[in-house]
Amino acid sequence: MRQPLRLRLVLRDLSTAAAFASMAISSQVPVWTLVLFALALIVALTGRRPLARAPRLTALLLLPVAGVLYLAVAAGQMDLVVAACSFAGIVAAQRLLSESSSATDGQVLLVGLLMIAGGAALSGDLVFALCLLAFAVLASLSLGLAVVEAAVPPGEPVPVRAVMRPLARGTILAVVGAVLFFILIPRLNWNMGVHRATPGLGTATSGFSDTVRLGGSGTLKSNPRVVLRARLTPDPVRTEQLSAYWVGRTYDTFDGQEWSTIGAAKQRHRTRVTLRPGADKQVYQRIELLPAYGSRTLIALETPAKLGNALMHTPTGDRRTRLQELGGDELRFVDDGLGYSYEVYSLPPGTDTDPGRMNQTEADQLLALPENLDPRVEQLARQVVGDEKDPLAAAQKLSTWMQREYQYTLELSGDLADPLVDFLFVRKAGHCEHFATALTLMLRTLGFESRLATGFFGGERVGEEYIVRAGDAHAWTHVLVPGRGFITVDSTPPAFRANQSLQVLQSLISFYEAIEGIWRTSVVDYSFRDQLDFMRGLSRPPRESSSGEQRPSGPPAGAWWTAGLVALGVYGLVRYLSRRPRRSPLGEATRLVDAVERQLTRAGLPPQEGETLEDVAARFTRDAHPLGPTLAPLTRRYLEARFGQRPLESGERARMLEDLRRALDTWRQGSRSNAP
């Protein structure tokens, strides 16, 4: 056996590595599998195949591995899909280290394919796409080289250079074809999302919990991932930094450690919710919550009045979803989705608003203090505010004072018995939750109704939209001013309200998020409905744009593109068909010759190598074979039909074959009776 081509083996091994990586990126594959496979890959890439000597034994060793994995699944220690993926990885490692033969190569690529399928079930995110592409390209190149290598006579060099170019061209065509196939062939969607890792850059970080606990982790502030995109109408065109408050929910009860809400959830689910009456000037927002958001709470610019028309993004396409009202002005989506989009009408800051529907208990709660509140808090508040009677003026006094006297820090001292006292009197430093909690409680000690609000602060313009990052998460204070409703007062120093991440990191993350978004919407969640939309977009004119620009007359550009592409496709098809050797209309004759040769072979008179029926008939006639007189006219008729443009009449073929069969029978009987 000759030495296999080194390049081909390297390509093969790398394609397997890409396939394994497609599973490994989900970080669900156990570490021991990862280590085993990595070792096997390194050894294989150096050209050594240590398992070649005992292929059977090492293959048998896979059985106990399968058994162990099965037990792990049965015992509930391991997920079935993950176990299957791990086993595929081990099999791939074993095959990589075995003697290279065409069978092994096939098995390696097959296992690679299985691992890609496993990767699709486990992760399916953007890096998976890269792995899939790498696998497809490397495996195709290796397969193509294998075919060429087999065709080259032993001892001669394989023309790698000459082969790689057409192979690469073919691979590119195949990838383009696969993309077209993906876009155009109607698909069925199964929900494969069960095993998928959280999309993008790991677990979503800005989840809204039911409570706000002082002293939690501070890393959130430096997270630059985009959680929300919003399009505003009227559009504040020139505003690069919106610096607005995006409210998620409010809290009215503080127990010394945690904020919570006493309001109960309403059982009714609605598609539209009106929190308070609207006004003449309203800001309309079309908001999209991205997968990184990781919560079901709706976010809206302060102060939201009406919310609704919510769509939920799922792996099987967009679906309508309904909203549920919870206490503390919080709205939640009823269903779990990867992301959401919805519409909001908000009253701009400075507008007098209705405080919203509150029952007596809830209203009373706006003055509630924790039972063991340190008396120094009230003293401090009185000291700062003096005898100010206006709630807003008092809040602003306190806020200005706090911003001057207290430091902002993300370094926290861990769990404390009384974090508020620690913030106000010991460390004199904290983050937004400390500032907001302190302001709210100090106002309450003075008899001013107030509550804590959480959400996001900021809004950075990207294109025609504003984006909000996870690090923009923020907490502030709502002060109830009689006749004007809740007014926002923020005691956190202005420089520390928005996210604290690095600028470079921010833009990189934005870029990644954008690509990830495209991948998710147009590949992973690409559904039959999207296909229909795509097709419709090709044939229908675009919707009237809201800016009222003059529409160009004539068909839309999409239609021109479609027509051009279709014309190109038809042209290519015609070229291809005209260049292809025309399928002879005399196929009947070819079928005749096939049938005749079959009959002859069955009768023990097969044509010799390279012999046509014409040669066989000539040989029979020359040798005065008893079948010669039958075969000669048949052959002549075949040649006429095939090359002389005198096609066989209907039934002629069957008649001639029947004659031949009879002649063969007679000949066989004759030779049998002559034999003894």
Binding site: E609, G610, T612, E614, A618, L639, R642, F643
Partner: protein
């Protein structure tokens, strides 16, 4: 000088053509015994309107065959013995000055016959050999700026001795390419030789025993029929694929030329007449493949000096086996 009939010769039907060919072949077999296959190929070549190269040791009936062909078709024959001192004018003819009329007149050479036997062609110097080129290719002779058409039909049969090369000028490839077929008669079988002894006929008169069975007009008709034979696209493709296979074969330095492809098609058309067909089959192509191509290929081994006569034929057989015929 006879003026050739330019009118389109009447087509004969395939069946009539076949009987005419069979008649001629049977007639020739009387003169050249035991060589049916070669005789049929020689007739095929003449019917296809091609020139024939006979390559054989002396004394196996080359001249006899040519003479018999001339008699069978009632063709005018001239025989030119090529020697080292033969000049082009000796073949083509020359301008003769007549003192009485004080004018030049053209005296045609031996080439102005319907069948020209160029005996031991390779003994003449290249200049003389190439004098044949225009005649063979264009069917005309140009001398001193005047073009003289050759009679129709016009066929050259050249012979050469494949063994004795001393004092010869090997035929250049351009010249070889102009011969439709190359044939070797080879020694007759022992029983045929014994039969010749019994007949006790003089070799010189052997060709004369045959009677004319056809005419130059009939031969022109045959050629018209050959040209009208139908060649299916798939068979044409087969011919091209065969020629292409000789070009890409590892042992062949230079494969079949385009002229070789055309020659192969023409010979196959003529061969189809033997079966009274008006269309060509792949079998026809294979039947004439060796005689049409073998002398046109330049083998690698020829450069190394280890070339044998049969090698080209073997290679062609191998190619014929490998290139799949249309079915």
């Amino acid at each position: 000088m006879n003026s050739p009939a330019r009118a389109t010769p009447a087509l004969s039907s395939p069946a009539a053509a076949r009987s005419a060919l069979e008649q001629v072949a049977a007639n020739l077999s009387l003169a050249v015994r035991g060589k049916e296959k070669e005789v049929r190929l020689a007739v095929t070549c003449v019917a296809a309107g091609g020139h024939l190269l006979l390559e054989d040791v002396p004394g196996v009936g080359k001249t006899t065959l040519v003479e018999a062909i001339a008699r069978s078709f009632s063709l005018s024959l001239s025989r030119v013995q090529f020697t080292a001192d033969l000049m082009p004018a000796d073949i083509l003819g020359a301008q003769i000055f007549h003192a009485a009329t004080a004018s030049f007149s053209f005296r045609p050479g031996p080439i102005f016959r319907q069948l020209v036997l160029a005996d031991e062609l390779n003994r003449a110097p290249p200049r003389t050999q190439s004098a044949l080129l225009e005649a063979m290719a264009q069917g005309q002779v140009s001398l001193d700026g005047v073009t003289h058409p050759l009679p129709r039909p016009f066929t050259v049969v050249a012979t050469q001795n494949p063994v004795d090369f001393s004092g010869t000028y090997p035929l250049p490839d351009s010249q070889l390419d102009r011969f439709l077929m190359r044939l070797s008669l080879g020694h007759p079988a022992p029983e045929v030789e014994a039969r010749l002894l019994v007949l006790a006929r003089d070799a010189a008169t052997a060709g004369a025993v045959v009677e004319p069975v056809s005419s130059p007009e009939a031969l022109n008709g045959l050629r018209a029929q050959v040209a009208a034979q139908r060649l299916d696209d798939t068979v044409a493709d087969y011919v091209v694929r065969l020629a292409h296979a000789t070009r890409s074969h590892g042992d062949i330095e230079r494969g079949a030329s385009t002229r070789a492809v055309l020659a192969l098609g023409m010979a196959a058309r003529a061969h189809a007449l033997w079966e009274a067909r008006d269309f060509v089959t792949p079998g026809d192509v294979r039947a004439v493949l060796g005689p049409c191509l073998a002398h046109r290929l330049l083998l690698r081994s020829a450069n190394q000096g280890t070339y044998t006569r049969d090698e080209a034929l073997h290679l062609i057989e191998e190619i014929a086996r490998k290139v799949p015929a249309p079915r």
